[in-house]
């Protein structure tokens, strides 16, 4: 049997105003494929952080450069990639936000949050320029369609 993956893609301009559009789409997708409210909240935040980084640090608000977001809805996981068209960077060179000397830094926590909330986060330089962030979150195993409580309601309905 072939297991299909569904893909949803969105391209936005490098403007913070569009981030809410991305978060709305993320919420719709996580709800549609059955993530619980808590997981959906943190996935939303991870995607939001990634897109904000792409707009601010990647494309540096350059209106000529877009941010491409791609959701791949797999049977086992939701994968999200976020691509910018900036100069790229090496995430290993970023300061550790948990280092006591950095605790009061005003910035630098976004990637830590993304790594905390997603199962995997990878950074790669895109061969045609820019960075591509790939994140994934496992989906909870599907519950059996047979629902005991539902059955009881049905029986009650029949009895009444």
């Amino acid at each position: 049997m072939m297991l299909a993956e569904n893909v949803v893609e969105l391209t936005i301009a490098s403007q913070l105003e569009y981030i809410d559009l991305v978060t709305t789409l993320t919420d719709n997708i996580t709800s549609m494929i059955g993530f619980d409210e808590e997981s959906a909240y943190w996935i939303n935040m991870a995607v939001r952080e990634s897109v904000a980084n792409a707009v601010e640090h990647g494309n540096k608000y350059d209106q000529q450069k877009s941010v491409d977001i791609r959701y791949t809805i797999g049977v086992d996981a939701l994968r999200v990639t976020v691509r910018d068209y900036g100069e790229g960077f090496d995430p290993a060179t970023l300061p550790d936000p948990l280092d006591p000397n950095n605790l009061l830094n005003p910035a630098g926590r976004g990637i830590l949050y993304m790594r905390t909330f997603m199962d995997s986060v990878e950074y790669d330089r895109h061969p045609e320029g820019g960075m591509i962030v790939s994140m994934s979150k496992r989906r909870a195993p599907k519950q059996p369609s047979h629902d005991v409580s539902e059955g009881e309601h049905k029986r009650d309905a029949v009895g009444n």
């Binding site: 009061l104 005003p106 926590r109 949050y113």
Partner: protein, 114 residues
């Protein structure tokens, strides 16, 4: 508007009650401006009531840290009140829970300035 801020004074302490989102862009800027305005007028005992804030991103967390530092450097104190669980989680992940003074009761927050 991303963030609504209501200002209330109790003695020489100012409570900023916040409603909405503190995220990159507008919300973070509104928080920065509100605290700067207080410090510029010499009011440096500040409580941020975050009970009405439904969403904070890393930029918002960074703004809280910046306002904490700025207020401290101005000889004052900035304390947090009524933290929603998710904001508490974000502070815990980044080891900031012990940096801020956090209160769940307004009177306790006010008393802490005495």
């Amino acid at each position: 508007m991303q963030l609504e801020i209501r200002e209330r004074a109790v003695g020489d302490v100012v409570i900023l009650e916040m409603f909405g989102k503190i995220t990159i862009g507008e919300g973070s800027v509104q928080l920065r401006d509100a605290v700067s305005k207080l410090l510029d007028s010499g009011r440096n005992k500040i409580v941020l009531n975050l009970g009405g804030v439904g969403y904070v991103d890393s930029s918002g967390i960074g703004e809280l840290v910046s306002r904490y530092t700025t207020t401290k450097n101005a000889g004052g104190r900035l304390k947090l009140l009524n933290l929603p669980k998710k904001i508490k989680d974000l502070l815990m992940i980044t080891k900031l829970l012990t940096v801020f003074e956090i209160y769940e009761d307004e009177q306790a927050a006010l008393d802490s300035f005495q």
